[in-house]
Amino acid sequence: MFEGDDRARFEAIVLPHLDAGFNLARWLLRNRTDAEDVTQDAVMRAFRAFGTYRAGNARAWLLQIVRNTCFTWLRQNRMAAEFMEFDETTMPQESGNPETLAIASSDREQLTRALESLPESFREILVLRELEGCSYKEIAEITSRPIGTVMSALARARLQLRNSLSQPLSKEVRRAL
């Protein structure tokens, strides 16, 4: 009945976080066009669910919806063989030295490639922490995981990112295969 009023509130509270939503979708889907469609879908879902939103962290609320919409989309739109579930027992091994890393990481393209080569759960947590500046509490809320595991998941994600950066060639080969 008061849809116009809802819209004004939604625009004031949720839409300021549209960039955050798009950025997360762009990294999860690795494609700007898909990210645009899925973010739009997620925002409309958020609007329909806005009645259930009470005061609180609107950014985390929107990001959680964007993330869930992305994962649903990914499940529907790619072959099962590509699907890489995050394995809590995965522990990447230390490799590479800081010198090669410094050279490699100065390259935006190389960083993009390295980030995109990570499993989704690693990519997601790095994007939320390093690009979005989310706290552990917010990351826990967005990804629906206990706050205690956020720190160890970040440790693993960063280690794997360092490994991909110091081995750009082998990663390339692995992706091409």
């Binding site: 008061f2 609107a58 950014r59 890393l101 993009t112 790095l126 989310c134 917010e138 720190m151 960063r158």
Partner: protein
């Protein structure tokens, strides 16, 4: 090889998420452990690379437009092939709807509660993000921004550039919080904007603290006879870092 016990703590330390005791314990370990020092250094340089590589993808204009189109319109949109009578009927309906809403909307929905200081600060931050509202004086030079405030306020805000610490000064503006003129210093943090609002404590008392409203964090502190509020959508750890930079310099 890095020590296994401290591997996770190292990341909590890097992210400013350890409590005071945990951070002190880790620092003690760090002093004695060259491996962890090296890992921490590498992680810090990797973080700088990630944040400086323009990896953040902002929502394109086309997406903003599509969303604006899909949300229910606040007013009836234009309809093609309408004769003058239709227009009149439409206008009358709209007028009735407005009167109806005005009459029957519960007061809690339409009239806003008196905002708290933190809410007023977050509002000021949101206003500043509207196009053209961020800065009155746009400069990364503190020696340009600082004199700009002279004569506009009855106090001198502490204008500092923290570009080397990841908080480049972008400019300043005048703002109004609960009827008081305040100085707003604008900083960048990665792709985000941080507003630091400054006023005389005697004019508008505020308590040191921190909190979160609608997804925005704020941290407040006192500096001499000034009260300062940092507000942004970055993590509160970042705002605490900015507060400490002001305290140190």
């Amino acid at each position: 090889m890095p020590c296994n016990q401290t591997q996770n703590q190292l990341h909590g330390y890097l992210d400013g998420e350890l409590d005071a005791l945990g951070a002190a314990n880790f620092e003690k370990h760090l002093e004695a452990c060259p491996d962890c020092q090296k890992v921490l250094e590498t992680e810090e340089s990797l973080r700088r690379s990630l944040q400086q590589a323009s990896l953040y993808g902002r929502a394109p204009r086309s997406l903003q437009n599509k969303i604006a189109e899909m949300l229910p319109a606040p007013r009836p949109a234009s309809v093609p092939f309408f004769g003058p009578w239709h227009w009149f009927a439409l206008a009358a309906t709209a007028l009735l709807a407005v009167l109806f809403t005005w009459q029957f909307l519960p007061p809690g929905n339409s009239s806003r509660r008196q905002p708290t200081l933190a809410a007023a600060v977050v509002d000021a931050h949101l206003r500043s993000l509207q196009p053209g509202h961020l800065e009155d004086v746009q400069s990364t030079d503190q020696h340009t921004v600082k004199p700009w405030f002279d004569g506009r306020l009855d106090f001198a805000p502490p204008v500092r550039d923290f570009a080397n610490d990841g908080f480049p000064l972008l400019g300043g503006r005048l703002d109004v919080i609960n009827g008081q003129s305040v100085a707003a210093l604008v900083y960048g943090r990665r792709k985000h904007i941080v507003n630091v609002l400054v006023w005389k404590t005697s004019a508008l008392p505020g308590n040191p603290g921190n909190g979160e409203l609608q997804g925005y964090h704020w941290v407040s502190w006192k500096m001499g006879d000034l009260t300062m509020y940092a507000v942004s959508d970055v993590a509160s750890g970042d705002l605490v870092q900015l507060r400490d930079l002001f305290a140190k310099n």
